[in-house]
């Protein structure tokens, strides 16, 4: 497997500018000869589709929702980082770069992260020009707030709906290109496979979710912007439809999958309420600007929170990490919550929860100010739990939220299959082992607005896919279509007794127990034994009713669960092989005396990339070494 990262030589500050100059260009008149198949139209895919169409490329975009405006980017609440230094608090591109590399626990690529920090400022300019209604000060200037893992205020926001407003911004740009005839939008179509012809990605297969029709699409490049795989845990903050299918199908066609074990467990989510639960709801990290996290000091505490006196409370984040306090990075805040609950000091039903308390903030700035800052989040919390955070502290617990792992890409965002590009959460490149808050929106838009539009032209100019035209009658399309139809037929034909959802729940519980917030060799080995058994049960006992030729949500779900069942195994394998703790990957065998993550830089300063080697065959593990010439490897400290 060729893992040439194509990182430009020379100082990291000049890398992107130099690379942009070194890349070959496609002249404006020739751009319309190239067709891009964009799969997924969230922040990354939507912004890329619009930007590529503006440049003159022909774009066909696909999403499984009924409109591109529904993508799960929309649910991001808190904000988007940018090194604007509008607050004059010492921010700079270099500091955002440094914070992100450190926040990722030294497992990301320096050059990629630097580029991300560099274009962050352009993203804000771009979004404002489009009319994204960011929060403003009375003087008309943009407002900022702070987020975890940083000591400057560099986060831009639109109330608690930042993701929504950014997505609507790029959806508007996309709508403009659809109107202009430059993008053909295909909604309610799910990608089920990638077609590789003579080693180049040349097309995809989709299923129309309304009619069930299987369709072939040919193009000169395929871009996956299909999000993350946190739904492997079943209960997560992701939308119900989020899935790994597109990425996993690409993996099976030869794209390397990088660091699948890097998953982010977000510290502030509403705790699980019961068996019938279908998803977990995030409460924005921005709440930690004003909320204080605590648990009772005593394990046998039964009083309501308001009756517990100050000296019997343990504000454990402030105690353990005085300089970052409640704004410690997500992995650290999550593990600390788990630790407190493991000690028996948790609160609420089942004692799996901690308090996020606004009492002091309300006393300091008043209820009106708090309502203005977080009103919609407080309302959402009250609708779900029937408790008012203005009166009693929120109860929160960590939940799967984001996945840093993804398809391996080089500096040009191209996977190990030439012509197959991967952007946004679906790739692996910028966050290392832990993503800082307000960085996902930044990365999705950086990839879509600024990076891919620059690099994809280089691919067209150097590989010349237009010189070897391929259409959907090519035999490789027929072969892939046979595979797709075969899988659907197999799913429909099992005719067992259990619903796809019941298998998803069982897989999710297993993954959360064995490959969740804390992992160990024994648990992972058990999971690796159990997953194939569960898969076997699935293929013998799953029940999919109805027909493949109509709207059939059960069939959609079954296909996604089937892929999660296989993918879960690679995730556990990756977690088992990575004999260290870093960021979101915490191996209990590798921790310091006071329970902090213990990295093993000598053996694991690399990206682990998994290569598919055939059905029922163990995948190969390859590595890409990581260098840190600028941000020197150090133990991450937020104390």
């Amino acid at each position: 497997m060729n893992l040439d990262s194509k990182i430009p030589s020379g100082p990291v500050q000049d890398a992107w500018d130099k690379h942009k100059f070194d890349m070959k260009l496609v002249n404006p008149a020739n751009k319309r000869k190239f067709k891009v198949l964009m799969v997924g139209t969230g922040l990354a895919g939507g912004s890329a589709a619009a930007s590529l169409a503006e440049l003159g490329y022909e774009v066909d975009a696909f999403c499984f929702q009924d409109s591109p405006r529904r993508a799960h980017s929309i649910a991001a609440q808190g904000g988007i980082n940018a090194a604007k230094n509008y607050q004059n608090d010492g921010d700079s591109v270099w500091r955002l770069f440094y914070d992100t590399v450190k926040g990722g626990d030294f497992r990301s690529r320096e050059a990629n992260v630097y580029r991300l920090a560099q274009v962050s400022a352009n993203i804000i300019d771009q979004c404002v020009a489009q009319g994204v209604p960011f929060a403003r000060e009375y003087g008309g200037q943009l407002a900022n707030r702070s987020f975890g893992g940083a000591q400057v205020s560099r986060t831009f926001y639109a109330r608690g709906q930042t993701g929504q407003q950014l997505l609507l911004g790029c959806y508007a740009g996309l709508a403009r290109q659809i109107d202009a005839g430059n993008v053909t939008m295909h909604t309610r179509k799910e990608m089920l496979d990638v077609v590789v012809v003579d080693g180049l990605a040349r097309g995809i297969l989709t299923r129309d979710l309304v009619t069930g029709k299987i369709e072939r699409w040919a193009g000169d490049a395929v871009v996956l912007a299909t999000g993350g795989y946190a739904n492997v845990f079943h209960l997560s903050t992701n939308a119900i439809g989020c899935n790994v299918t597109a990425a996993f199908r690409a993996y099976k066609r030869g794209a390397g999958f990088a660091n699948p074990c890097y998953t982010q467990i977000h510290p502030t989510c509403i705790p699980v309420h019961g068996e019938q639960q279908s998803k977990l709801t995030l409460m924005s990290e921005s709440l930690r600007n004003d909320g204080r996290v605590w648990v009772p000091k005593a394990t046998d505490e039964t009083r309501p929170p308001g009756d517990i006196p100050e000296h019997e409370r343990d504000y454990y984040l402030e105690r353990k990490y005085p300089s970052f306090g409640n704004l410690s990075p997500r992995d650290i805040a999550s593990r600390s919550a788990k630790e407190a609950c493991d000690e028996g000091r948790g609160v609420g039903p089942g004692k799996r929860g901690v308090y996020l308390d606004f009492r002091d903030a309300i006393a300091r700035v008043g209820e009106d100010t708090i309502r203005e800052r977080y009103g919609n989040l407080f309302d959402m919390y009250e609708r779900i739990t029937d408790e008012s955070p203005y009166k009693v502290p929120m109860r929160i617990y960590p939940a799967p939220h984001y996945t840093m792992g993804g398809l391996w890409v080089d500096y040009n965002l191209q996977s190990t299959i030439p012509g197959l590009h991967v952007i946004g959460e679906a790739n692996f490149s910028d966050h290392g082992a832990n993503r800082l808050g307000a960085s996902a929106l930044m990365q999705g838009l950086a990839d879509g607005y600024f990076v891919l539009p620059a690099t994809i032209g280089h691919y067209f100019a150097t590989h010349g896919p237009d010189k070897q035209p391929v259409d959907t009658d090519h035999p490789d399309f027929a072969r892939v279509e046979d595979d797709v139809r075969g899988r659907i037929k197999k799913l429909m034909g099992v005719n067992g007794t259990r619903s796809p959802a019941s298998f998803h729940r069982e897989l999710g519980r297993l993954m959360w127990d064995k490959c969740g917030m804390a992992r160990n060799a024994r648990g992972l080995t058990e999971a690796l034994q159990r997953i194939p058994e569960l898969r076997e049960e699935f293929w013998h006992d799953v029940r999919v009713l109805g027909s493949g030729e109509s709207l059939n949500m059960m069939l959609e779900e079954a296909g996604r669960v089937a892929d999660f069942m296989e993918f879960a195994e690679i995730m556990c394998r990756d977690a088992l092989t990575r004999e260290e703790s870093c960021g979101g990957h915490f191996r209990e065998e590798h921790q310091t005396e006071d329970g902090e993550a213990l990295r093993n830089d000598a053996d694991f300063t690399h990206v682990a990339v998994w290569e598919h080697t055939g059905e029922d065959s163990t995948p190969n593990r390859h590595t890409e070494a990581l260098d840190f010439p600028n941000v020197h490897l150090a133990t991450r400290s937020y104390k």
Partner: protein, 250 residues
Amino acid sequence: MNITVRVWRQEGPAATGHLETIEATDVSADSSFLEMLDLVNERLISAGREPIAFDHDCREGICGMCSLVIDGVPHGPRRATTTCQLHMRSFTDGATITIEPFRAKAFGVLRDLVVDRSGFDRIIQAGGYASVNTGGAPDANAIPIGKGEADLAMDAAACIGCGACVAACPNASAMLFTAAKVAHYGHLPQGEPERDRRVTRMVETMDAEGFGNCRNYYECEAACPKEIPVDFIAELNRDFRRATVQGGSR
């Protein structure tokens, strides 16, 4: 709790639909409305019957994918709440709940409770944007926008495009949806250059898609899960009049 649901079943766009009565026992009061439907579906599947199709995705009230008319009200009885954020504790034990799709000429039923809302996308494509290409934008702080105007733009932009306004309107008008987008740009300097063209084209498209006319029933505002006020409709009318009658040039 134990409840009875009367739910709309329709095999496809051309099929005749009907209300089916299903008993739902042992539903947790802490479940969301859609989790109740998940449970009903699990049991239908066990009994070898096809589950009820309904649209949903984020289940946190922001994507706008969920719909449903619950006991005659789009998104159900709780104000400012999407169906996915509605919880069973809002209903009484033993209740009979009627569940229907969003109904409008412009929203055809695809199956059961799933409807086609692509008309909304086409309204946005007719001008719900500011025409700026990627790259070359001036510094974000170069365009100062007062907090009051920025807040109004945000109030309008909060629309999730779910279609409850259309389902609630006796005329199935998409006026609140369209007005929210027009007002979002109307309160920002970025929207100014295309102000007249935007409102004209969006209103024309709304009519062409088969949405009805606004008669100021204000049912849309009452049903809107994001509480978009009808004031924006007045703003749209003002803009539309200026653009068409007075012959706007922007």
